[in-house]
Symmetry: none
Subunit: 188 residues, 4 copies
DNA sequence: CATGAATGAGCCTTCATTCAT
DNA sequence: TATGAATGAAGGCTCATTCAT
């Protein structure tokens, strides 16, 4: 996993985000890093492997960070707030990679797609776990924790579709606002 | 816009949803409707036009329905509830077409993409408008209405990624639950 | 299996014989029939399929003809003579196709290769059967019929490596001579 | 011609036999000897040169051995028997190399191919010479010595296509049997 | 001697689109 | 309308060979 591989992966992330996986040719990636098309294959074994590794890395990061938050010794409510803030901030900080994960995972071959799907399902379960613990602790109303998790994840993931660096709000502010919405609701 | 065109569009929707736009060949569509590849071109002018019309139709539907809800003579809160329920139910009822809209719009040529983008922006504005009216009416807390709209839309759009017909909850129930979450929050 | 397919197959046979399967590109075949490379794929599904069909057709012909000879109501000796003459004449008459069969079969994918291998094994068994019947009838000395068949087939197949149209001897003469050698030997 | 070259040549023989010349990559050979692809080129000048040297060595061996047999002071018949036995035993003893010679020679560039072709023609002439001498000595019937040589060579070469070590018959037994067939024929 | 990065040409195949029939 | 032959560009990938280190 040389330095050059990292360069290639970065080029791929950028191009996959800009044009989409299918619309990005290996030639495009080669041009971006200043190599011949064939030379790329010293570093990668296929275009799809590139996509796989990118999505893998992305979802792993999300899982790792959420696990850390879950271990935190604060109230469930605070853990949920942290999780929301962290997710939104991560999406913004890794906008291209997250976009590739959320938009291109289904371009993976079935077997690779399954791997990502499983990690994604696990991520959802971790969110539901936080909510369940909040209910158990009497911090949240009893409810369908998986459905709540899906609502929260929907909002937080969607950020990749509209967030722009340099906008009026920082990712931290967006995250806080979202946490506030989910916890307190919007009614007066 | 003959009857045959509708048949072709339906086939395209189904296949674009199943395999993705790029992975669906014109041959696939022809096979699905029982025509030869060449014959399709009596009805369509290009594969991309098919995608354009599908996404166009989908976003138009969302806008049309939301406009109708906005005109309803009930409280802002009830209009928001209606809007959420309606959106979720529509996603579920037109799962394939909505998936194509939300997932494949960026496969459109830039000029077409812009058209869809504009209608999508308009849809967001309509949501923000409802929220603003709720705030003005004292029903909702003052806040960043566009951000709230993005949160709600994120949750509601995301449904296309996980909803499955025949699941435990009906689309109506999911919509109600989501409305409840956003209006009341999840804290006890 | 249009007329054009036959044209393509003929071109392939000619080129595979001249340059070998691997050294023949799809471009070469396309050039030979005056089509674009991509246009070939209206008629074939892959280059390998072309090789498969050619070898299949070739070995089938050999089996079919030998079966007919076996059914002939003449002495085993005469059937063997007929078989040798027929094989040599067939090799000469279908020199290119036979060359492809005998030289390129191992370029087939394992699964296709197995099919050809099985038919080839069957061909050998038919030869051994003739010899066994000759032994039983007291026309041939008892012996290892399979080994004798391999000796005869070796000589007769090898013809593809040296036969040239317009040479001093006709295929019929070569066949007769070979039959004579195997039946009578060369000693005075 | 270092020791390493011999190692590389052996690897090439093995791989060319197993997968065919075209299907064997320089990488395959490098892997087999535990070198990097680029390092091979300290020992060889091209992949084709490797094939050339292998086939050269193989055909030279056949010619050398046959010349020695021709010089033997025994009857023509015995010399023929020796030649057949020797050829079959050599094929079996150098199965891989012989396979490469007989199967891959046409993968050589035209100029190299010509060299091998000439040595092969010479080999055939040596066989015909033995037969001619047998005829002159009254041991064999008068006949087309070249055609007889081709028949014998066909049988004996073909052995490379079916011989398997550890079979029921030893190469010596096969050679003797073949000699017997050609000299005496199979008729009772 | 050995490495491994890089080349550049070539390979088989796919595909949206056109058009004569 | 419908066909299906044909196009031509592009795609992902392989590979023998070179060369600076």
């Amino acid at each position: 996993m040389s330095n050059k591989y990292e360069e290639i992966a970065q080029a791929a992330i950028k191009l996959f985000e800009q044009k989409g996986y299918h619309a990005t040719s290996v030639q495009d990636i080669a041009d971006e890093v200043g190599l011949q098309k064939g030379s790329l294959y010293h570093y990668i074994s296929s275009k799809e492997e590139l996509l796989m590794k990118i999505t893998q890395q992305s979802i792993s990061g999300f899982n790792r960070r959420l696990e850390k938050i879950i271990e935190t010794q604060v109230s469930a409510k605070d853990r949920l707030i942290l999780a929301i803030q962290n997710h939104v901030v991560s999406v913004a900080a890794n906008l291209e990679m997250t976009t590739v994960l959320l938009r291109e995972a289904l371009s993976l071959e079935p077997e690779h797609h399954t791997v990502i799907k499983n990690e994604t399902d696990r991520y959802l379960s971790l969110w539901a776990q936080i909510i369940d613990e909040g209910v158990k602790a009497g911090e949240f109303k009893p409810g369908n924790s998986r459905l709540i998790a899906l609502a929260i994840l929907g909002s937080c993931n969607w950020v990749y579709r509209w967030y722009q660096e340099g906008g009026k709000l920082t990712p931290e502010e967006i995250g806080s606002y979202f946490a506030h919405i989910f916890i307190d609701g919007i009614k007066k």
